[in-house]
C-alpha cells in the first residue's frame, strides 16, 4: 500500500467517480429522508422542515409500537427457527466427506439465488386454501373416510362432515413460515464457516472423557462456535426485520411489519415525514444490531486469545 501523495493524479481519478456517485445517489438521498423525518406535512407534496420531533413521537403511539413489537417478535421467532434448523444442517455439512461439502453447501444456497418475489409467490401456491398442503390433507381425509366406510363406520362422520382446509395463508403463521424459508441460507453460511474451522479433536476429547453427545454439544461445540452463532443471528435478524415482500404477500391485515407501514406512508397514505421517521428508526435498529455484532465478536475473539 502506498500513500496517496505519491500518485495524487491516479488517486483522484479512481477516487472521485465512485465517491461522488455514493455521495449524490446514496448519501444525499438518505440525508434527505433524515431531514424529512423532522418535517411537517403541508399539502400533498409540500414538506416544511420545522425540526419537529412529532414524527418520532407519533411512532411511539401504541398502534405503531405494537407493529414494532410484532416485527421484532416475528424476526426473533424466525431467527430462532433458522438457527434451530440451520445448526444441524451446518454441522452435518462440516462433518461430511470433503468432496461432498461444496455440493451440499451449494444445495442450501442455491434457492437464495432465486428471485425473492418468485420464492414468495411459490409459497402462496403451497399454503393457500386450495394449495398443495391442503390438497394433500384433503386427499388423506378422503382416504380416511373411505377406510372408515370400509370398516362400517361411515355414518358416524368421525372426520367431520366436510373437509375443512387449514388457514395457512394470510396470517402470522404464513409470514413466519415465509421468513424462515427466505432467510435459512443466510443462517447456514456463517454457522458452516465457524463449524468448519472448529478442531474436531475437542469433540473427540470430550466424548473420550465420558461426556455424552448432548453434553459435548452444549459445553464444547456451542461455545466454540459462538462467533459463528452470533454472526448467523445478526445476519438473519437484519434482513428479516426489514422484510417488506413476505408480510405484504403472505400476511393478513394484522401481520404487518414496519416495512409495510413505511411503504404505506410513502405510497397510499402520502405522509412522507412520518414514513421517513419510521425508516430511520428501522435503520437505527439495524445499526444497533451491527454494533452489537462487532462488540460481541470482539469479546469472543479476545476470549479466544486469552
Amino acid at each position: 500500500m502506498e500513500s496517496w501523495r505519491r500518485n495524487p493524479l491516479v488517486f483522484w481519478v479512481i477516487n472521485l467517480p465512485p465517491s461522488l456517485w455514493l455521495l449524490f445517489f446514496f448519501l444525499i438521498p438518505l440525508g434527505l429522508i433524515w431531514i424529512f423525518s423532522f418535517g411537517e406535512k403541508r399539502g400533498v407534496v409540500d414538506i416544511e422542515i420545522t425540526w419537529t420531533l412529532a414524527n418520532y413521537l407519533r411512532a411511539m403511539d401504541p398502534l405503531y409500537l405494537q407493529i414494532f413489537a410484532k416485527s421484532l417478535w416475528f424476526t426473533a421467532i424466525t431467527t430462532l427457527l433458522c438457527l434451530a434448523v440451520g445448526f444441524p444442517i451446518a454441522f452435518g455439512i462440516s462433518f461430511a466427506p470433503a468432496k461432498w461439502k461444496p455440493w451440499l453447501l451449494l444445495a442450501i444456497i442455491l434457492p437464495f439465488w432465486t428471485n425473492l418475489l418468485i420464492r414468495t409467490y411459490a409459497l402462496i401456491a403451497v399454503l393457500r386454501t386450495r394449495g398443495y398442503v391442503n390438497f394433500t390433507l384433503e386427499w388423506f381425509w378422503d382416504q380416511g373416510n373411505w377406510l372408515l366406510a370400509l370398516l362400517g363406520l361411515g355414518q358416524y362422520q368421525l372426520l367431520g362432515a366436510q373437509f375443512e382446509a387449514l388457514p395457512l395463508l394470510y396470517n402470522n403463521f404464513a409470514v413466519v413460515f415465509g421468513l424462515v424459508y427466505v432467510h435459512l441460507p443466510f443462517t447456514v453460511l456463517p454457522l458452516y464457516a465457524a463449524l468448519e474451522r472448529m478442531d474436531s479433536s475437542y469433540i473427540e476429547a470430550s466424548l473420550d472423557l465420558g461426556a455424552g453427545q448432548f453434553r459435548t454439544f452444549f459445553t464444547v461445540v456451542v461455545p466454540l462456535a459462538k462467533a459463528g452463532i452470533i454472526s448467523a443471528v445478526i445476519i438473519t435478524f437484519i434482513p428479516a426485520l426489514g422484510s417488506f415482500l413476505t408480510p405484504d404477500l403472505l400476511g393478513g391485515t394484522d401481520s404487518q411489519m414496519i416495512a409495510n407501514v413505511i411503504e404505506r406512508q410513502f405510497k397510499s397514505a402520502n405522509d412522507w415525514p412520518f414514513g421517513a421517521a419510521l425508516s430511520f428508526i428501522l435503520m437505527y435498529a439495524t445499526f444497533f444490531a451491527l454494533a452489537l455484532r462487532a462488540l460481541l465478536a470482539r469479546g469472543s475473539s479476545s476470549m479466544e486469545a486469552a
Partner: protein, 295 residues
C-alpha cells in the same frame, strides 16, 4: 478401508450397506442429521420445483396434473406488457452492470492500493448500501428523485434513468467487494516490474492490473446483473407507471391471482438467474485455482 474389509469379512457380509460402524464423529452419517438435511432440502426446493412443474401443466387450476403443455409460455410471450417489462429489466440490468463494474473496480483498486486520510469512513460508507434495509434505500431514492424533479416523461430508454441510477448505487459496492477479494492475491512485483520496464501508469493498469482483475470483474458483473434483475423493493419505489420492470410486473400479477402464466414467466427468470450464477461461480472457482497454481 479395503484392508479393513478383508480383515473382517463377517461384519462386511452382515451389513454390506453400511461398511463400517458409525464412529462417534461420523456426524454426517447419522440418520437424524441426514433426515434433517433432507427435510430442509424438501422445504427449500419443493415450492420452487412445483412452481416450475406446474408452469407446464395443462390446467388453470394449477393443482392437479392434466398433461404437458407450452401454452402458458406462449401466452406469456404474447403478453405485451410482460415482454415490455422484461425488456426494461434486461436494459436496466445491462446498463447498471456496466457502470457498476467500472465504479466497483475503481473502489477496489483505490482501497487496495492507497493509504489516505478518511479511508475508514469511505469503507464504512461503501458498506452502507449492502447493510441498510432495502425499504429504506427505496424510499430514499423515491424522495430524492421526487425532490430533484427528475423528469419522468423521457423517451425509452432514458425514462429508465432513475431506476438504473438506483441499481448502480446498490450494486457497485458488491462489485467492489468481489474485485477487492481478487486483488488481495495480486503480486505487486508484477506491477513494479512493468513500471521498471518503462510502462506508464495507464499502461500498467491496462496491461497488468486489468487482466489480473478480469475474473473478479466478470464475477462481480454477473453478481450485479443478477442483483439488478432480481431487485423488487428498490425498483418498486423508483419505477413509474411507464417504467415497469419484470419483478414489478410479476408482483402486480401475483397480487391479482395465482396463474400458470406467472409460473411460466417466473420459470424463465429462475433459469436465467441460475445460468448466470453458475457462470459466475465457475469463473470464480477457475480464477481461484489459477491463483493457486501461480502462487
Amino acid at each position: 478401508m479395503s484392508v479393513a474389509d478383508e480383515a473382517t469379512p463377517a461384519p462386511v457380509l452382515r451389513r454390506r450397506w453400511r461398511r463400517e460402524a458409525i464412529g462417534p464423529l461420523d456426524y454426517s452419517r447419522r440418520l437424524w442429521l441426514r433426515l434433517t438435511f433432507l427435510a430442509a432440502l424438501v422445504f427449500l426446493y419443493a415450492p420452487i420445483i412445483t412452481l416450475i412443474v406446474f408452469s407446464f401443466n395443462d390446467s388453470r387450476r394449477n393443482i392437479v396434473w392434466r398433461g404437458f403443455t407450452f401454452k402458458y409460455y406462449e401466452k406469456a410471450l404474447g403478453n405485451e406488457s410482460l415482454i415490455e417489462a422484461f425488456t426494461n429489466s434486461l436494459t436496466i440490468a445491462l446498463l447498471s452492470t456496466a457502470a457498476s463494474v467500472v465504479l466497483g473496480a475503481m473502489v477496489a483498486v483505490l482501497l487496495w492500493r492507497f493509504r489516505f486520510p478518511g479511508k475508514a469512513p469511505l469503507e464504512g460508507a461503501m458498506a452502507l448500501p449492502i447493510v441498510i434495509p432495502e425499504i429504506c434505500m427505496g424510499v430514499a431514492m423515491l424522495a430524492f428523485f421526487a425532490r430533484v424533479g427528475w423528469p419522468s416523461d423521457l423517451i425509452w430508454p432514458f425514462n429508465l434513468g432513475s431506476i438504473i441510477i438506483a441499481h448502480i448505487s446498490f450494486s457497485f459496492p458488491f462489485v467492489a467487494m468481489v474485485v477487492r477479494a481478487r486483488l488481495a492475491n495480486f503480486n505487486r512485483e508484477l506491477e513494479e516490474a512493468a513500471k521498471d520496464l518503462g510502462a506508464s501508469e495507464w499502461e500498467t493498469f491496462r496491461d497488468v492490473l486489468i487482466p489480473f482483475m478480469r475474473p473478479g470483474l466478470v464475477a462481480g458483473g454477473l453478481l450485479a446483473f443478477t442483483l439488478s434483475l432480481d431487485d423488487f423493493v428498490i425498483t418498486f419505489f423508483t419505477s413509474g407507471p411507464d417504467t415497469v420492470t419484470f419483478p414489478v410486473k410479476v408482483y402486480s400479477m401475483v397480487r391479482f391471482s395465482v396463474t400458470p402464466e406467472v409460473n411460466a414467466a417466473s420459470t424463465v427468470l429462475i433459469v436465467i438467474t441460475l445460468v448466470l450464477t453458475a457462470l459466475a461461480m465457475w469463473l470464480q472457482n477457475r480464477s481461484g485455482q489459477k491463483a493457486e497454481e501461480l502462487g
